[in-house]
């Protein structure tokens, strides 16, 4: 920028974006592909992944990516659409994982039943436990959610229940690698698209209203605690499913399910991938989890690594990759002389 001229940055929608507004989207193949291609790439890409990566190691990684993706979508929903920052994603994983472990190992319930029961039951338990914290605002809610996995860990450790520090072994596993992967991949896709629909429905607007201006929502006669509880329930459904899945993948439930990883990585994935888009967290999970696995030999250095990345992103590119990409896809920018 030359200093003697005044310039301003102007962002304009691309021509094709304007041409695809409303009914005109189906007016030609070009317009339709502009809208459909990103989504098709996402769906087909996800579905093709297990076929492209036949090695057992990477297939496990894909399953882990999907579990983290579910957690990250949940975090995004709570933080960017309802205004609740949850620093304790591990809580959901742990509750779901332990429920599945208990049902499968102690009670011998078959896997087809443990996963739904653990998901639903876990979600109910998590929501009920979090209900007292729902009226809290901002920072305080975040601190409270941080406490939950820690408290549960200490209780299990101290009282030595549910297997104590050893955990629950003998959880049944998946009959085949393909089922393990495709089940969760299809679920991630379904969850993504249904939550995207949800936030644009009228009820979704109420949730966004709670983030925007909760006093106004209360003055309209809607109980914001109820709305928050619904949002937490949806998120914990996803998280507990992930936990139950995890238990069956590793055929084991233990304290590590409450680990820090499950709280930090969804947050990092959302920040890096782009908060508020619901797709961004999936992208973030795809980037972070393989790095996490690759760096596992380096021990706790990997935590250092993505903490540093997280901080850099918060500082410099806090909008996230997906928001940046969406902007580039829909708009172009130029410097105009004033």
């Amino acid at each position: 920028m030359r200093r003697d001229d005044q310039y301003r940055l102007e962002r304009l929608d691309r021509g094709i974006k304007i041409r695809t507004g409303g009914i005109y989207a189906i007016s030609s193949w070009r317009e339709m592909s502009y809208l459909m291609v990103p989504r098709l790439v996402l769906i087909l890409g996800l579905l093709a992944l297990p076929i492209l990566m036949p090695s057992a190691y990477w297939q496990r990684v894909i399953s882990m990516v999907c579990i983290y993706a579910l957690l990250a979508i949940g975090f995004d929903l709570l933080a960017h659409f309802v205004g609740l920052v949850s620093l304790g994603g591990a809580f959901f994983i742990g509750v779901g994982g332990y429920l599945a472990g208990i049902l499968s190992s102690y009670k011998g319930v078959p896997m087809v039943l443990t996963i739904p029961i653990a998901t639903l039951g876990g979600a109910i338990i998590c929501t009920l436990l979090l209900v007292p914290c729902l009226p809290l605002r901002g920072v305080y809610f975040a601190i409270a959610t941080l406490m939950y996995p820690l408290i549960l860990t200490r209780f299990i450790e101290a009282l030595n229940i549910f297997g104590g520090t050893d955990g629950i072994v003998g959880v049944s596993g998946f009959p085949s690698q393909w089922i393990e992967q495709y089940l969760i991949i299809t679920l991630v896709i379904m969850v993504l698209f249904s939550i995207r629909r949800l936030v644009n429905t009228d009820y979704g607007l109420v949730m966004r209203g709670v983030k925007d201006n909760d006093q106004a929502v209360r003055a309209s006669g809607i109980s914001i605690t109820q709305v928050k509880a619904v949002a937490v329930f949806i998120t914990s459904l996803m998280g507990c499913f992930g936990g139950a899945y995890l238990a069956h993948i590793y055929m084991w439930s233990g304290l590590s399910q409450f680990a820090l990883d499950f709280s930090i990585i969804p947050i990092a994935a959302t920040v890096i991938g782009g908060g508020g888009t619901l797709v961004g967290p999936i992208l973030g999970a795809f980037i972070l989890v393989p790095i996490n696995e690759l760096l596992r030999e380096l021990g706790t250095l990997r935590i250092v690594f993505y903490c540093v990345i997280l901080v850099i992103f918060i500082m410099f590119k806090s909008e996230g990759l997906m928001v940046y990409a969406e902007r580039k896809y829909h708009q172009f920018q130029q410097w105009k002389k004033v």
């Binding site: 009228d202 009820y203 607007l205 109420v206 966004r208 209203g209 925007d212 201006n213 006093q215 106004a216 929502v217 209360r218 003055a219 309209s220 006669g221 809607i222 109980s223 914001i224």
Partner: protein, 262 residues
């Protein structure tokens, strides 16, 4: 409801914040169809009174009954709104990230709106967007312009104030409490809002208006109450109130020549 029973009866409201006594044994009645004005210098407790009535702040003591039904002290604000008491906020609170007409979808989804709305509420499978646009048109947004579609963060004050009122009307209230709704508006903007208030009154909505713009208030209000330092000074018609010595002292201070307020 009996003819003589007031719509809203407030008795002995008191509230203190730390050492500051914001309200001190305030009592008044509002009858159906009234436009009840509450005036007083800044800091006299008017907004606190509204907050206590609508339960956004818990009162220390006192009782309140609406349509004969007692409202308990710990009642959450959304229940109060559900009973039919709507309020605007002194600092407008739109949903900034949503367009203006979508702002109304949220109150239209409240249990009360769905109960009482009927076809106006969009019905069971209603199109709340259309109802929202309708309400905005009633309020004074130009219908076929782009204004209802603008994001609430981009609207100027005049429209925001009307949006506040629209948000109240969406839940079909019986009592609307307007907290300084004329503040920040120019004379002509107020002139366009006054018929709206009169129309509401004709439709049977009772209004409580907290205002500093006395001239405009007295055009619509039939009863006025004055608060000063949390205490009720006087209640009566506009002329009675403005002729009272204590009120003049509260606004203008003593030992001063007071102009006749036209």
């Amino acid at each position: 409801m009996a003819e003589d029973q007031p719509l809203l009866r407030v008795a002995d409201f008191s509230k203190s914040f730390g050492g500051v006594q914001a309200l001190s044994r305030v009592s008044f009645d509002v009858h159906e169809g009234d436009v009840f004005g509450i005036i007083g210098p800044n800091g006299s407790g008017k907004t606190t009174l509204v907050n206590c009535i609508t339960s956004f702040v818990k009162r220390d003591s006192g009782s309140i009954s609406f349509k004969g039904q007692e409202l308990k002290r710990g009642m959450p604000p959304h229940k109060v709104a559900d009973l039919g008491i709507a309020r605007t906020f002194q600092i407008t609170r739109p949903y900034y990230t949503l367009p203006a007409y979508k702002n109304l979808v949220i109150p239209l989804l409240s249990p009360r709106a769905r109960r009482t709305g009927g076809w106006r509420g969009g019905g069971k499978h209603g199109d709340r967007d259309t109802v929202g646009l309708d309400i905005l048109e009633e309020i004074g947004f130009e219908r076929d312009s782009f204004i209802p579609y603008k994001l609430a963060s981009a609207l100027p004050t005049g429209y925001l104030k009307r949006l506040e009122l629209a948000r109240c009307l969406a839940i079909r209230p019986e009592l609307v409490i307007c907290d300084e709704i004329f503040s920040g508006l120019s004379g002509s903007e107020i002139a366009t809002m006054t018929p709206l208030i009169e129309k509401l009154q004709m439709e049977g909505v009772t209004l409580i208006m907290i205002e500093h713009r006395l001239r405009e208030l007295f055009r619509v209000a039939n009863r006025v109450m004055v608060l000063n330092f949390g205490e009720k000074l006087i209640e009566g018609t506009a002329e009675e109130v403005m002729a009272d010595e204590k009120v003049k002292e509260a606004y203008f201070g003593s030992d001063q020549e007071v102009m006749d307020y036209a």
